[in-house]
């Protein structure tokens, strides 16, 4: 019995194999390779950690957003830190008529809104900039994402504590021509090496 045939057996779980779920293509081949399902996870949360907003995180998800909105799927933005600028979005190929911008006044309303959007099944992608949050909150959001089969993205600045239980955690670092993506956690695998993307 060779090692290869042993490794082929179904009752042996290999640490570098991914479950056969399909993700949303990110638009960056180098990143897709490293992600389970070759894309952003559906029905789960993705957390993106940044030193500060504006280093290229939106451009990272823009190809996927453009693709989803062109398929007439809705994209919700919950409490964005600035105004999502329509001319730039349109130039990236996003269909503006599928954008839903939610700007709650109270923080508690923010979590509630994220949950509703994730759960409703209407939104293919829910982008959130949550402030604070505890394990219970994240858990509820995760369940909501599963129930609605939505792709939830949480953008958080690194100094925010309390890591959330998510399916995919990325950390971004700015580079002169783009960003460096560190995959801190991914479902079905260990942390992988960084990917450099030019934006």
């Amino acid at each position: 019995m060779s090692l290869d045939s042993l490794l082929e057996r179904a009752d042996i779980w290999r640490g570098d194999r991914f479950p056969a779920t399909v993700g949303i293509p990110t638009g960056f081949a180098a990143l897709d390779e490293k992600l389970p399902g070759s894309g952003w996870p559906i029905g789960a949360l993705t957390e993106i950690l940044l030193p500060s907003f504006g280093i290229g995180e939106l451009q990272l998800i823009m190809p996927a957003l453009a693709r989803l909105s062109r398929k007439k799927r809705w994209i919700a933005w919950i409490a964005p830190p600035y105004i999502p600028y329509a001319p730039a979005l349109a130039a990236c190929g996003v269909d503006l008529s599928r954008m839903l911008i939610v700007r709650p006044r109270a923080t508690t309303d923010g979590f509630w809104a994220i949950e509703q959007a994730l759960r409703s099944g209407t939104c293919a992608a829910v982008l959130a900039w949550p402030a604070g949050g505890d394990r219970q909150m994240w858990r509820r959001l995760q369940l909501a994402a599963e129930a609605g089969q939505s792709w939830g993205v949480l953008f958080r600045r690194e100094q925010d504590m309390e890591p959330a239980p998510v399916a995919l955690r990325l950390q971004l670092e700015p580079l002169p021509g783009g960003i460096e993506v560190h995959i801190l956690k991914r479902l079905g695998g260990w942390a992988a090496g960084p990917v450099v993307l030019n934006l």
Binding site: P51, S52, F53, G54, I55, G56, E57, L58, Q59, M62, K71, K72, R73, W74, P80, P81, Y82, I83, P84, Y85, A86, P87, A88, L89, A90, A91, C92, L96, S97, R98, M99, L100, I101, V102, R103, P104, R105, D109, W112, A113, Q116, A117, S120, G121, T122, C123, A124, Q149, E173, P174, L175, P176
Partner: protein, 502 residues
């Protein structure tokens, strides 16, 4: 369907008619107490102030030994904390009308039978609603959900149905044979006779309708009058009994007085639920929906609190409407206790129920349900917190877009050189040697692209004259800045941060 505006359109009794009569035996009480389900002993009283009598006791009071026509004083000795309600005849009338409108969803032939009964001609509706037992059950359940106690009678004639209902004879009489048989057992008092006629009949020893029939006609006519004979004929199907059609009002309004003032949200919702069900029935009857309605919570001695419920698209789904009400009520502060709730819906729109698709894909799911999500969010966060985005043809960057209703589509020009984030207000930056500094970031800003000159907007007082630059900070953040073309009061040309390339 309720569209016969002309009063006095009569319906001839004919063959194959089947009448269902709803008789509200405790209407006076239900009208005042249905907003509350707590088991408090209650009575409705009538009469002069010095000699108040009990008109109707509720179940809890009955159990404690109170009955109709008992003196109030006597009743109060039996039950200390007896809740006393004064009869509201106007409310009773309004209630009967509301119910009649609600009944419109089952048949277009509804007629009022004053003061406390509603007649429905259901012969044509039987098949649509799955047969007589099921229809009866649906109606009964619906009426009960509205908060009324009802007795139902079914007969081929209106009067027959009514008498059966008053006699609380549940078995339906589907033809005249059965009717005769059933009426045999109906006591005289169910005929709601004039007192003198009643006296005559009782004096002759008659007890039931059946008894009356055994007497010779002319004798009866002589003693009780032609009207009486006529009535019997009509009830038994021997003479036609045309009934005026009930015409529902063009819009919906219904009041629900609360037996005890309330400030508890859950209890309020209980009452509002009843009103929403009424509204749903009213809309169903007209195949219509509402894009919104108004709840009025009335307080003692101050203006009522108005809660406006708005929808993205018209609906008559009671569950959906109630959900929205619940969400909105949760964030509506009540300044005082509420003693009455009213619901008004004036904008009634035709609404055809959409067929459910065979393949419920993600696309269609998104397509139909996004309005529900938007309504849900708006109910709690407010209308302007939930919007879409739209392009505007204007060279001034802050005006090249605006928030709009979600889903609105408008083609426009897009500009590749724009940042994904725009600041709500341009941020004034400090300068050193005429070079801008980014607050909160140490290090230098390097200008990359520019200047892009924008000078426009002189016609509405919002003239801008700016040179825009894309810049990169040592920290990695890429920003969109502008420098004003005109120096300010101090002679300097100011730098502003306007956007961030996300």
């Amino acid at each position: 369907m309720g569209d016969c505006r002309a009063a006095g359109i009569q319906l001839l009794a004919g063959t194959n008619m089947l009448w269902l009569c709803l008789y509200f035996r405790s209407l006076s009480l239900d009208v005042l107490a249905r907003g509350d389900c707590s088991p408090v002993p209650r009575v409705v009283v009538f009469g002069p102030e010095t000699r108040l009598q009990v008109l109707v006791p509720n179940a809890a009071a009955l159990v404690r030994g109170i009955h109709a026509e008992m003196r109030l004083s006597a009743a109060q000795t039996l039950v200390d904390d007896l809740h006393v309600l004064t009869r509201d005849a106007a409310a009773e009338q309004a209630a009967v009308s509301s119910i009649a409108a609600w009944c419109g969803q089952f048949t277009s032939t509804v007629s009022l039978l004053s003061p406390d009964a509603v007649l429905l001609e259901i012969g044509a509706s039987l098949r649509l609603f799955g047969g007589l037992p099921r229809l009866r059950q649906t109606i009964d359940a619906g009426i009960t959900a509205l908060g009324y106690h009802v007795q139902t009678g079914i007969a081929p004639t209106p009067l027959g149905a009514w008498w059966l209902a008053r006699a609380n004879i549940a078995e339906p009489a589907t033809d005249n044979e059965q009717l005769r048989a059933a009426l045999a057992r109906v006591p005289l008092r169910c005929m709601a006779l004039e007192s003198d006629v009643m006296a005559v009949l009782q004096g002759v020893g008659l007890r039931t309708v059946g008894d009356c029939r055994r007497l010779p006609r002319d004798a009866l006519a002589r003693r009780c009058g032609v009207t009486f004979i006529n009535m019997l004929d009509r009830a038994l199907g021997d003479a036609p009994d045309p009934r005026p059609l009930f015409v529902p009002p063009p819009y919906f309004t219904s009041r629900l007085p609360l037996p005890a003032a309330v400030d508890d949200c859950a209890m309020l919702l209980f009452a509002i639920h009843r009103l929403v069900l009424e509204l749903a029935g009213f809309l169903q009857a007209r195949e219509a929906g509402v894009p919104g309605f108004v709840l009025q919570l009335c307080h003692q001695g101050r203006a009522p609190t108005t809660v406006a419920i708005g929808l993205v698209s018209a609906s008559r789904d009671a569950a959906h409407l109630l959900r929205l009400v619940r969400t909105q009520m949760e964030r509506t502060p009540l300044p005082d206790t509420v003693h009455e709730v009213a619901l008004v819906a004036r904008d009634i729109r035709p609404l055809v129920a959409t067929a459910t698709t065979l393949f419920d894909t993600a696309e269609t799911r998104g397509g139909d349900h996004w309005t529900a999500l938007v309504e849900q969010l708006r109910a709690r966060l407010g209308d302007d917190a939930v919007t879409g985005l739209q392009l505007v043809a204007d060279h001034r960057p802050e005006r090249a877009w605006h928030y709009c209703a979600p889903g609105e589509d408008r083609p426009g020009v897009s500009n590749a050189a724009r940042p994904l984030w725009l600041l709500v207000e341009p941020l004034l930056l400090r300068q050193r040697d005429h070079r801008p500094l980014l607050p909160g970031h140490h290090g230098a800003l390097t200008l990359r692209r520019g200047p892009e000159r924008i000078e426009s907007g002189w016609w509405d007082g919002g003239d801008v004259m700016r040179d825009y630059f894309a810049a990169r900070h040592d920290d990695g953040i890429r920003v969109w800045l502008f420098r004003e073309r005109c120096p300010d009061a101090t002679g300097q040309r100011r730098w502003f941060l306007h956007g961030i390339f996300g």
